[in-house]
């Protein structure tokens, strides 16, 4: 048995391998305090920009929302506001470029990588005797989850259900971790056990009505594709329950509003014309931390710049394609699950390369940073290492803090 597996076997309810391949590396990348501060500053600024745009998006007409590729069935849901933050748990993905940290995307609706950064990272750092880069953040996550559920519930006897695909270890164990942090009365009910009565409510497998559904790993755009055996659109029915106030969901509806990658094209479009919606300082932040993003590739072809084609609601690199400045495809992800919606085109930035150890074998990998936002505030950070396109088999590389020099 490898050192990696021996070590990770001591961590309960974790998934050191994914899809039959190593996932969590038996190593720690030490980064400076300065780097963590720069990353958190970039996160705070990007979060402010995204959250500011959310209120603008809710006021758009249907035609513009459709031009941004939001599903038509979800539009009434998109306009809902809730008592919660725009997204309780979100994750920004950054690339470290020569010009500092640049946002590649915001995973506002259903980010994972939670248990790794808020819990496992601490144990890896203790094992390798270094300081955890995310020290103290698990408590803040617990506070955020408890607050979000309690506000959504609104009363002591509300029925709280955490849900996920039961057969997906990463999803199920992530959600169970959140449920454990919540720490009060609640149940885990697998997605396929949920039952809906149109216009009435959502129920568990025993027929008990659910008041709050914590759906950390279940995307809205996937929900919209759900039909029951009789062909009824149960996903749309569930959104109707939320619109009618008969069910609360966490993340809230606004998280799906921000999940759309066309939001980055809106931000860049407002920035390019120095629109007064953003202050001078906010324009500086966008110039520093956002990448030019559009709904077509014209600008990059004209400037002969390499670019990335990303699906509007894609995840984990799925359906992503890389192009050179002449518009020729240089790389594409083999997984293509997200072709149904539209695409955004974003300036390409090389992911830095570093050497990693996978079960004793040295290999080069491309790294990117994930940076969590709890109610919009910068929180845990982490690193994924994989190919030029970071996909669902990219490794999780734990992060520690370098000791001060001198």
């Amino acid at each position: 048995m490898s050192d990696r597996i021996s070590f990770y076997n001591t961590i309960h309810d974790f998934w050191p391998d994914l899809y039959g391949q190593p996932y969590a590396l038996y190593d720690v990348l030490l980064i400076s305090k300065e780097t963590t501060e720069q990353l958190r500053d970039a996160s705070t600024r990007a979060s402010h920009i995204f959250f500011k745009v959310a209120s603008l998006l809710r006021r758009l007409d249907e035609e513009t929302l459709l031009a941004m590729y939001y599903p038509k069935e979800a539009i009434p849901f998109l306009r809902l506001t809730s008592s919660l933050s725009e997204s309780v748990i979100a994750r920004l993905d950054f690339v470290e470029s020569n010009e500092g940290f640049k946002v590649m995307e915001l995973n506002a609706d259903t980010p994972t990588f939670i248990k790794e950064l808020f819990s496992v990272n601490k144990q890896v750092c203790a094992h390798f005797r270094c300081a955890d880069v995310n020290e103290g953040e698990a408590y803040k996550l617990q506070m955020a989850v408890q607050e979000a559920v309690d506000i959504s519930a609104g009363r002591d006897d509300a029925y709280i259900v955490f849900t996920a695909h039961e057969d997906n270890d990463e999803d199920r164990l992530t959600v169970l971790y959140l449920q454990q942090l919540y720490g009060k009365a609640s149940r885990f009910v697998p997605l396929d056990k949920l039952q809906i009565i149109p216009h009435e409510g959502l129920y568990d497998e025993k027929g008990k009505k659910i008041d709050v559904l914590y759906r950390q790993t279940f995307p809205i755009e996937s929900l919209l594709l759900d039909y029951d055996e009789a062909g009824a659109p149960i996903g749309q029915m569930l959104l109707s329950l939320v619109c009618a106030g008969k069910l609360k969901v966490i993340n809230p509806p606004s998280a799906f509003l921000l999940q759309n990658k066309a939001v980055q094209a809106v931000i860049w479009g407002l920035h390019e014309e120095r629109n007064s919606f953003f202050s001078d300082e906010e324009h500086e932040w966008i110039a520093k931390h956002f990448l030019p993003t559009y709904l077509e590739e014209d600008t990059f072809l004209m400037k002969r710049m390499p670019y990335v084609k990303k699906p509007i609601f894609g995840r984990e690199g799925d359906t992503v394609e890389l192009y050179d400045g002449k518009g020729s495809k240089t790389l594409e992800e083999t997984q293509k699950s997200y072709e149904a919606y539209g695409f955004v085109y974003q300036q390409y930035v090389d992911l830095p390369v570093l050497q990693i150890d996978v079960n004793g074998q040295k290999q080069d990998g491309h790294m990117m940073y994930g940076s969590f936002l709890l109610n919009g505030r910068a929180s845990s950070i982490g690193c994924r290492v994989g190919g030029k396109i970071t996909n669902n088999v990219a490794y999780y590389l734990p992060l520690g803090i370098q000791k001060d020099e001198g």
């Binding site: 402010h48 959310a54 209120s55 603008l56 809710r58 006021r59 758009l60 007409d61 035609e63 513009t64 031009a67 941004m68 506001t81 008592s83 919660l84 933050s85 607050e147 979000a148 506000i151 066309a262 094209a265 809106v266 479009g269 407002l270 629109n275 007064s276 919606f277 202050s279 300082e281 559009y294 709904l295 077509e296 014209d298 600008t299 539209g342 109610n375 919009g376």
Partner: protein
């Protein structure tokens, strides 16, 4: 650039209707000097501190009180009343120091 342009036309149209032209319909800006710059949050219907140098940066101001988060604001009973009132987002309550309950 047809798709991007089409989308941005929709964005600018909304900014045009909620921007300068309707500022006079907003609740009065708070006169609390502990924040140097305010921004109106149209969803919450209150002013938010947008001054990064202020300790209230990102806080919401309602009824003479600062709220660290939207959750805290929503939990405040007088604000809940305001939100349900016909004056919501139209000028009653936000900038004043008296909440009436």
């Amino acid at each position: 650039m047809a798709k991007t342009t089409n989308m941005m036309i929709g964005i600018f149209a909304v900014l045009g209707t909620v921007g300068c032209g309707k500022d006079e319909a907003l609740p009065p800006k708070p006169d609390d000097l502990s924040c140097g710059e305010y921004e109106f949050d149209y969803d919450a219907g209150v002013w938010e501190c947008d001054d990064r140098t202020s300790r209230y940066y990102g806080h919401y101001f309602y009824g003479g009180t600062w709220f660290q988060s939207r959750q805290a604001l929503h939990a405040y009973a007088p604000y809940q009343k305001y939100k349900q009132s016909p004056g919501f987002k139209k000028g009653f309550g936000s900038g004043s120091a008296v909440s009436g309950s």
